[in-house]
């Protein structure tokens, strides 16, 4: 009885650094030696994919980057996957950022999918990176009212010289606004969705998914659920990448934490019943 108590006591007061090490191993090991568990497609991802798939060629899509560098490991794989889809559908991509980190990821997405950004022959005709607009939601309101409100793009080219920008007069000219964010989607629904009736798709971090649900599917037609959503989209566009590679590690980490919760609660129940 005393030995069991000592063992339980040790387990209850384990050094947190042991837990950190276990988590590190659980995440690191599957990345080196993947198991290859199948990844199903969720309704949110499917909704976004089907909507883009149904858009006619030449339609305008706005990629609105409201993400910081902190959420890049989750959001950038999503961006790469859906930008590849937009390219395959021959849609016109306008990239704008409402967070200062956004333009860098917009630039990287163009280089990864098209092979080059500002130096590409189709830059300014089929896609453009407008850079950062300061001001938060006020910037979104201004941009939705007039997409040509800024003078120059991220690389310093005049807006007047960019062929892709000329037909745009308001947010209504976009067939879809894809929001890449780790903070909130509500502001985009407020400034693009409700006033102009533009459908919104969310490439969001997993944290944000619970807050997207009240708007889904009426205002937000589809969403990518963090790294899992990126993996699903990579499967759909047949472009396996780092998101898919990370799914086994995600599974291992989730399983580890669930085991922790169960062990912790079993120990708690046993101690509680002994006391009573």
């Amino acid at each position: 009885m005393t030995a069991k108590k000592g063992w339980m006591q040790k387990l209850a007061t384990i050094d947190p650094r042991v837990i950190f090490l276990l988590l590190f191993i659980c995440v690191g090991a599957p990345l080196l030696s993947p198991v290859g568990l199948p990844v199903g497609i969720s309704p949110g991802t499917s909704g976004m994919y089907k909507f883009i798939e149904g858009l006619p060629s030449g339609n305008f899509v706005l990629s609105a980057f409201d993400m910081s560098a902190a959420v890049a490991p989750e959001c950038y794989p999503q961006v790469a996957a859906f930008t590849a889809h937009l390219k395959n559908k021959n849609l016109k991509i306008v990239e704008v950022a409402f967070d200062s980190a956004g333009p860098m990821f917009a630039d990287q997405a163009l280089r990864d999918v098209f092979g080059a950004s500002k130096d590409h022959p189709l830059y300014g005709k089929n896609f453009v990176n407008l850079g950062y607009i300061a001001g938060g939601e006020a910037a979104m309101r201004s941009y939705a009212a007039n997409p040509k409100m800024i003078q120059k793009d991220f690389y310093g080219k005049d807006i007047k010289d960019l062929e892709i920008m000329q037909p745009l007069s308001s947010a209504k000219d976009f067939r879809l606004v894809i929001v890449i964010t780790g903070s909130q989607v509500d502001n985009f629904v407020r400034q693009f969705g409700d006033p102009y009736g533009v459908p919104i798709a969310g490439a969001v971090t997993a944290v944000l998914v619970t807050r997207v649900m009240p708007y889904y599917p009426a205002k937000v037609i589809g969403y990518l659920n963090g790294l899992r959503g990126a993996a699903e989209y990579e499967l759909l566009v047949k472009r396996p990448g780092i998101a898919l590679a990370g799914m086994d590690a995600q599974s291992a980490a989730h399983l580890l934490v669930i085991i922790f919760i169960i062990i912790g609660n079993v120990g708690y129940m046993v101690r509680k019943s002994r006391r009573s």
């Binding site: 650094r17 200062s100 800024i150 407020r190």
Partner: protein, 218 residues
Amino acid sequence: MAYSFLYKENRAYRIAEHIYLGAGTGYGAILSAKYVYDNAWTPLVKGNTLWAIPLLASLLLYFYFSKKHFWIYRIPTAAIIGIGTGIVVAADFRTRLTEQISATLLPLFIANDPYKSLNNIIIVFGVIGSLIFFYFSREHRGPVKGMVNFGKYILMITFGAAFGQTFMARISLIIGRIQSLYLWPAWILLPSAAVLVGVAISWDRLRQKKAKSATEKK
């Protein structure tokens, strides 16, 4: 360096933190300056003199550092806050209130679809119960108390889902970092970092042992 914090708060972590602070601030400053230069300064120089007004108003912001004339800083701040508040509230009334009320008005009984009917009942009474839960002006009694309890459990499920999603998000970030450690030039950096970490931990433990034995001797 950042992950060294998991062992103990140390200088390497603080240096990483300060590099991040300096780099992030510097980068943000450049992007903001570029925005002002392209969209206000360049048109002003080209002859559109109206842009002088916001640029001069922006200079008033720097009275923040004056004790005597601090009140001047309030003028552009009031403009930014006023416009920002108006933009958010006007739209919020529709998006987060009336549209959400409208989305909650769901049919409670759909013939031949008991699953959807049940879901609609949970959503409607869940929203009402959760809203009443936060009404503290009167004691909750009778049927209202039942609704409040239902709302409470709905909120617990919401927070549970939020925890699950939040954990998933953080693990994704860890996966991203570890994936980058497996790429070149991390093949050299990772073993070097492991050796350095091992040396640092051993040295720290040795130091702790020495300090402990010195205290015991006293």
